[in-house]
């Protein structure tokens, strides 16, 4: 009976969801033999609705990135289920997963570390296309140039090495590589946090634009609530490995239930309102 209710009747089934996911790491203190278990994700249940921006917020160390790498199928959870559309992919073999990987792409915070420093910009975009055999050799460069144009990089950049590009250009390049395989889910792990406001707003506009053009689903991981407030449809708050709150943005931000959310919001809000007070022209 239960299978008939819920998701099946939803107008917009979730693209991806995790149910009861647990992830722990065994660690050692330096110079000590004693091992201890660090619980990064504890019984996490989360849905990523299709064509929506779900934001994952929380303090550093709350387990956001561990959850993201599990969702990106880059590491195995200890227990729990990961569903992609109608399939439970956590039970899949490596070969089966390989077919799924192009559909889930990630963009990281440190664009300099995420791009091969010895490849030119065009080569960086060509690599996934070549590995996945999405284009013939002569076609590769054309596809790369088209993708660069799509993310607002000029063709002059195609021969340059990533470290000679500016931070904003590098992040555009990382986005171009991520969308090269026409993914359905893009995981943005603090992708905007080290950029300044000018570039941040440009990349934000690009992401919104790409989302509508390619029907992308986003998981935006960020500690910056003001940024999350600009684009997120749904917000999940993580604290000490657990999702303590999850709901539509207005509900989570408008009437936060968990103390952790309230605290995060209070600090972000007071920064915003101080700025607003400073810019307001007195009558």
């Amino acid at each position: 009976m239960a299978a008939e209710t819920g998701i099946r009747h939803a107008p917009q089934p979730a693209l991806m969801r995790v149910i009861g996911l647990n992830k722990t790491y065994v660690q050692r203190r330096p110079f000590s033999r004693k091992e201890f278990v660090l619980g990064a994700c504890k019984d996490v249940t989360l849905e990523l609705p299709r064509r929506r921006v779900t934001a994952l917020v929380g303090e550093s160390g709350s387990g956001k990135s561990s959850l993201a790498t599990c969702l990106a199928l880059l590491q195995q959870p200890d227990s729990g289920e990961i569903w992609f559309e109608e399939d439970q992919v956590s039970a899949w073999t490596a070969e089966q997963l390989a077919s799924l990987r192009p559909k889930i792409q990630m963009v990281f915070q440190d664009s300099a570390g995420a791009l091969n420093p010895r490849f030119s910009a065009a080569q960086i975009i060509e690599e996934p296309l070549e590995i996945q055999r999405r284009a013939s050799k002569p076609e590769l460069r054309l596809r790369a140039l088209a993708l660069m144009e799509e993310v607002g990089l000029s063709a002059d950049c195609s021969k340059r090495l990533p470290l000679t590009l500016s931070g904003g250009q590098r992040q555009r390049l990382a986005i171009a590589r991520a969308i090269a395989l026409k993914p359905e889910l893009l995981i943005l792990d603090e992708s905007l946090s080290s950029l300044d406001l000018v570039i941040q707003s440009e990349i934000l506009r690009l992401l919104v634009d790409l989302q509508s053009r390619h029907n992308l689903t986003y998981l935006l991981i960020s500690h910056d609530l003001s940024l999350v407030g600009e684009i997120a449809d749904f917000v999940a708050v993580m604290h000490a490995g657990r999702i303590v709150e999850h709901g539509p943005r207005e509900k989570v931000f408008g009437a936060p239930r968990h103390g952790c959310t309230r605290e995060l919001l209070a600090f972000a809000r007071s920064l915003e309102s101080d700025f607003q007070a400073a810019t307001e022209v007195q009558a």
Partner: protein, 302 residues
């Protein structure tokens, strides 16, 4: 006699703590591209000046040029006077006596500023030892006191830790403690709150304000985010491609920005949390959200 900044109204008769005039710097051969292009800037003792600009505007070059930490440049013109003493061309030994003791610098990446193979405590006592001859025990007490002053709740643990054992927020405080350990007259902070969350940002700003009040430390606070300056700066300098495009008291710059670039920057500050979303959007999302709230039924049921 150097040229005065465009807005001289905020200064009084006292000689400035720091006076930069006509500073131009080029890195690339040929000196065509100027990282700094004729910068004039004055900071009075105990004043908090905010430098606002995007990446590539020359903010960091300015920060490094003051204590003489720039790599070899193709072109370096102008003057940097600290308490009337010209810093350019000073012998390294004299500069070393000023750095850390009189002028301290906080870089934007705290993790990269600390040695990974030394305990945090000895890195702070090193700074103090470079300027004052003190017995070892006293050095240690001073370093611990500096950590406590920077708002670290358990300075003893941090004192004995290596940088990799500390969180980002703690590292941030460690470099602040290191910079302020010798009670400098001028603190140059280059994006000290980059990639910190709002709570840590707030705490760092409060710490700076407190130091400014207690020890009359002048602060040159460099950032891309105008919202941070609203809390801290009394005067704001807006930089764009190596030039100062606008300068004045914070209240004036934020209320009536004259330059289009300043107006643009101020418009970019997100204010999403204090603005209300439109009602139609809200109900749409709320209606939608309920529909995915039953994953367990699909997974375990039926």
């Amino acid at each position: 006699m150097h040229r005065l900044p465009s807005n001289p109204m905020s200064r009084d008769a006292l000689p400035p703590l720091l006076a930069i005039s006509g500073l131009s710097i080029a890195y690339a051969p040929g000196g065509q591209f100027l990282a700094l292009d004729g910068i004039n800037l004055e900071i009075a003792a105990g004043e908090i000046v905010g430098v606002l600009g995007e990446s590539g505007s020359g903010k960091s070059t300015l920060a490094l040029s003051i204590p003489g930490l720039l790599p070899a440049c193709e072109r370096f013109e102008g003057s940097i006077k600290f308490r009337g003493e010209e810093l350019r061309g000073l012998p390294e030994s004299r500069l070393r006596a000023i750095r850390g003791a009189k002028i301290a610098l906080i870089h934007q990446e705290p993790g990269l500023c600390l040695s990974p193979v030394m305990r945090v405590g000895s890195q702070i006592s090193d700074v103090i030892r470079a300027h004052r001859r003190l017995p070892r025990k006293e050095l240690r007490q001073k370093a611990e006191a500096a950590l406590a002053e920077a708002g670290l709740p358990d300075p003893l643990r941090v004192y004995h830790s290596y940088p990799h054992q500390l969180s980002g927020g703690e590292l941030n405080r460690v470099v602040i403690a290191q910079a302020l350990a010798c009670r400098p007259d001028l603190l140059i902070a280059d994006e000290p709150t980059r990639s910190l969350d709002a709570r840590l940002q707030t705490e760092v700003l409060n710490l700076f304000r407190e130091f400014n009040r207690k020890f009359n430390t002048a602060i040159l606070f460099i950032t891309h985010n105008p919202a941070l300056l609203a809390r801290l700066a009394s005067r704001v300098v807006v930089m764009h491609s190596g030039r100062v495009v606008e300068e004045g008291p914070m209240a004036r710059i934020f209320r009536q920005p004259q330059h289009p670039y300043t107006q643009h920057l101020l418009r970019l500050v997100p204010q999403s949390l204090i603005c209300k979303a439109t009602a139609s959007e809200t109900t749409k999302r709320e209606a939608e959200f309920g529909t995915f709230e039953t994953p367990r039924k699909v997974a375990y049921g039926g």
